[in-house]
């Protein structure tokens, strides 16, 4: 099977690596091969975070340009930043809640309108948008926005792991007392994308 490529893009503190590790866990439980790159620069938080994952027969943990099946954008600008990973069959799932970089709040740079970013991506890819923060709030804990995104990813046709497998992995990867709220977040993300498609 051609490796299934996922590029996770967000900002430090958003739980991007936890989200990707849930998917990795589910893949391993199914007995699939999975490789992933976690690269973080020198800041503890607030900088861009990208994780690249390939499920299936792959050795390189970098998704070649054009070969991302999914770009999972936890933040609009960060989703746009990794667009070069997309190709003809890429779906972008983007959370529309911006995190304004400091360079913008001090007035050195500007943050483009989210609709403009979505528009540019739509010209080339299938784009699904949702408010992960809004759904996390609905689930009962803002910190579950990353798991909302995992639920959203799971709902995509062609995603190689099914809903039950993914929920098992959520249970293993989040602290016990937060399992319930995270499963709720997962469901909300899943339903949101199922509805959009």
């Amino acid at each position: 099977m051609r490796p299934y490529g996922i590029v996770y893009a967000g900002v430090g503190g958003q739980g991007v690596l936890t989200a990707s590790s849930i998917v990795g866990e589910a893949a391993i439980r199914r007995g699939l091969n999975v490789v992933m790159s976690e690269i973080h620069g020198m800041a503890q938080r607030g900088g861009s975070v990208v994780a690249e994952m390939r499920i299936g027969n792959a050795r390189s943990s970098i998704v070649p340009e054009g070969e991302a099946d999914v770009i999972l954008g936890f933040e609009p600008v960060e989703a746009y930043r990794v667009a070069h990973k997309g190709g003809e069959n890429t779906t972008v799932i983007m959370s529309t809640d911006p995190i304004i970089p400091f360079t913008v709040s001090v007035g050195k740079e500007t943050y483009p309108p989210v609709e403009e970013l979505v528009g540019a991506l739509q010209e080339k890819f299938r784009v699904v948008t949702l408010s992960a923060v809004g759904l996390a709030r609905k689930a009962g804990n803002l910190l579950t926005a990353n798991v909302v995104m995992v639920g959203a990813l799971t709902a995509l046709p062609g995603f190689p792991l099914d809903r039950e497998e993914m929920m098992e992995a959520v249970k293993v990867r989040v602290p016990p007392r937060f399992v319930e709220v995270n499963l709720k977040a997962f469901e909300l993300g899943y339903e949101e994308v199922s509805r959009c498609l």
């Binding site: 070069h84 970089p101 740079e109 500007t110």
Partner: protein
């Protein structure tokens, strides 16, 4: 516990491990007894895992004061007959180099594995030196894994080869392997000997010239043996068939293998895992029947030069492509695109490169910044105010060092003018104090202070360098992920340990003007720096306040969520807070009103002081 899975005894278990985690598992399967390190990305997680599991696993582990000490500790472990491992980032090996070179001469009894984590593309480093050359300088066998599974398995082999040859083994990883996560299948855990015993043999362990001469000859002999081992090692293997050859290693192998497979390139690939000494017999065999061979390796043309030299010496008639004829770059880490472009150029192929281009929109950058609540921000802010008032802000030379506080280079602080390496803040400050008439101020963190600043400060005292030295003491090694250091009451095993007092150390080496302040108290901090500036001769200011992330974690656990906000009735929109203090939690709305993002604010309260907001407009948000 976060790293419990590393100690899972079940052979055959499959875990999704980071390369760094797999290294620890491999060492524990190899009967590791002793490990030492100084933290440095991309090797840091190896230490974090050991910090969590070493005691349970019966392994001695320490965060050493610096890499040289770590190297010496591990070398002594191996000389005592127990399996020992030392690890650091690539530039850490520069610090350890003196000891490293000699371990090859004196050799080992128990296995000794020296892990270097190179950082092509400089994700978190000051250079991208290729440490494979260290194996050549020291005459040491070297291995290069490509994946977490390989890292785990190869560590075991590295220990065995080290013991067979009586030499340390250099284990060279790169960021993409250290920070690659993959499926790792476990083997059996093996308990290491709890203690070794040192058998005296001065002719063997003391390289005075008369001994060292014999040692060098012995070492060269051993390298011949090592080359034979490399040539027959299964770590150097051939994949595929074709009349084009590709020689590759490390992370580059992953891209080559995927590209060859995906695009059905007919090529014979020699994947080298045991790369020094260069396995000439194996390579000679591989080249038979080939007209063209391409070398694909990151950074320096290490294998390519070996290959070209060998072809010249042995009169092998073959076309060799690589970096030296311009097909592959000599900088930054490789990607599938770099490999495809290189193969296209070297072999005249036409592999498709690149994805879809989306419409260009200018998006803001997201450079790393000091965290909200970071005590370093308060320190820089206070110093800036003092120096500006004294009209020496622009004159002053700021030497900086390696840590989060290097971000003082950014606007609006701009207090980082010169940096070489760990400890250079102090040494270079001595130099600037002598070479110029400008005021000189050096910055180092607490961990860096212990690592390499003390000898330079002794130098400053003895040679009467007129300078101010600031220790930004945030009670941890923050940038690499909060490892302990000699100033903290905890050691590598997690046991209670004597904590060294930085103030006593600097007083002990003869510095008289020393002050300790809490940078969160801006008024007091300013006063301390005013006194330091007025003092003639060397002075030290220790700004002590724990890292904001540690405070956050503790507050979160205790259910404390303090937040601040701007009282719009009192704010005059002078923007001193946004423009000069510049906590990332501040933002301006479209109308120019100043606000604090409650998700980012960590409640440090520093901005509520009159020294930041002269109008007292920033207040704690009262819980209803």
């Amino acid at each position: 516990m976060k790293y419990d899975m590393i100690l899972d005894p079940t052979p055959g278990r499959k875990a999704f491990l980071l390369g760094n985690e797999a290294v620890v598992r491999g060492a524990l399967e190899a009967g590791l007894s002793l490990a030492s390190t100084y933290p440095g990305t991309p090797s840091s997680e190896i230490g974090n895992v050991l910090h969590a599991v070493a005691k349970k696993a019966g392994v001695y582990f320490e965060f050493s004061t610096n890499e040289k000490v770590a190297m010496e500790v591990a070398a002594a472990g191996a000389a005592s007959g127990i399996r020992s491992m030392v690890f650091f980032k690539h530039v850490g090996l520069n610090v350890a180099a003196d000891a490293f070179m000699s371990t090859a001469y004196v050799g080992v009894r128990g296995g000794l594995v020296v892990i270097t984590a190179d950082d092509p593309s400089m994700h978190s480093s000051q250079n991208e030196q290729d440490n494979r050359y260290y194996a050549q300088i020291a005459q040491m066998p070297m291995m290069e894994p490509s994946s977490p599974q390989e890292a785990k398995d190869m560590i075991k082999e590295a220990f065995e080869i080290s013991e067979k040859l009586g030499l340390p083994v250099l284990f060279r990883m790169t960021t993409r392997v250290n920070h690659m996560r993959g499926v790792v299948e476990y083997g059996e855990l093996v308990k290491g000997k709890p203690k070794g015993r040192f058998e005296k043999a001065p002719s063997r362990y003391v390289p005075v010239p008369s001994n060292a001469r014999g040692m060098h000859i012995r070492l060269l002999k051993k390298m011949e043996e090592a080359e034979e081992m490399a040539s027959t090692s299964h770590l150097n293997r051939v994949e595929g068939e074709g009349d084009v050859g590709i020689i590759t290693s490390g992370a580059a192998y992953n891209y080559v293998a995927d590209v060859v497979e995906e695009h059905g390139i007919r090529a014979r690939v020699l994947k080298l895992g045991f790369t020094h000494p260069f396995p000439r017999a194996r390579v000679r065999e591989f080249l038979k029947g080939l007209k063209t061979v391409v070398v694909v390796e990151e950074l320096e043309p290490y294998m390519e030069k070996e290959l070209r030299a060998m072809a010249q010496v042995e009169g092998i008639d073959i076309r060799i492509h690589g970096k030296m004829d311009g097909h592959f770059p000599r900088h930054y880490e490789y990607t599938p695109e770099v490999v495809k472009r290189g193969l296209n150029s070297a072999l005249g192929l036409n592999l498709p490169v690149g994805g879809v281009k989306v419409r260009e929109i200018t998006v803001p950058s997201r450079p790393p910044v000091l965290c909200p609540g970071c005590p370093h921000r308060a320190t820089y802010y206070a110093i800036g105010a003092v120096l500006r008032a004294k009209k020496i802000r622009d004159e002053t030379i700021f030497t900086t060092d390696i840590g989060c506080y290097t971000l003082g280079i950014q606007k609006p602080y701009e207090m980082a003018d010169y940096l070489l390496c760990m400890g250079s803040s102090a040494g270079a400050a001595c130099g600037f104090a002598k070479a110029t008439d400008q005021p000189v101020m050096g910055f180092a963190g607490d961990s860096t202070f212990f690592h390499a600043c003390i000898p330079a400060l002794i130098n400053a005292v003895h040679n009467r360098a007129n300078m101010i030295f600031v220790v930004l003491d945030n009670r941890t090694t923050a940038m690499t992920g909060h490892q302990p250091h000699p100033g903290l009451p905890i050691d590598g095993l997690g046991d209670e340990a004597p904590a060294l007092d930085i103030e006593k150390v600097v007083r002990g080496i003869g510095i008289e003007h020393v002050e300790v302040v809490d940078p969160y108290d801006i008024k007091e901090t300013k006063a301390a720096f005013r006194r330091a500036v007025e003092h003639n001769g060397i002075s030290v200011v220790i700004t002590r306040r724990e890292c904001a992330l540690i405070m956050d974690a503790r507050n979160r656990k205790a259910g404390i969520f303090r937040k601040y906000d701007v009282n719009q009735d009192m704010c005059t929109r002078c923007y001193n807070c946004v423009e000069n203090f510049a906590c990332p939690a501040f933002y301006r709305d479209e109308e120019g009103g100043v606000h604090i993002n409650p998700y980012l604010c960590d409640g440090c309260g520093v901005c509520s002081q009159r020294d930041v907001c002269p109008f007292g407009a920033i207040e704690e948000v009262k819980k209803e």
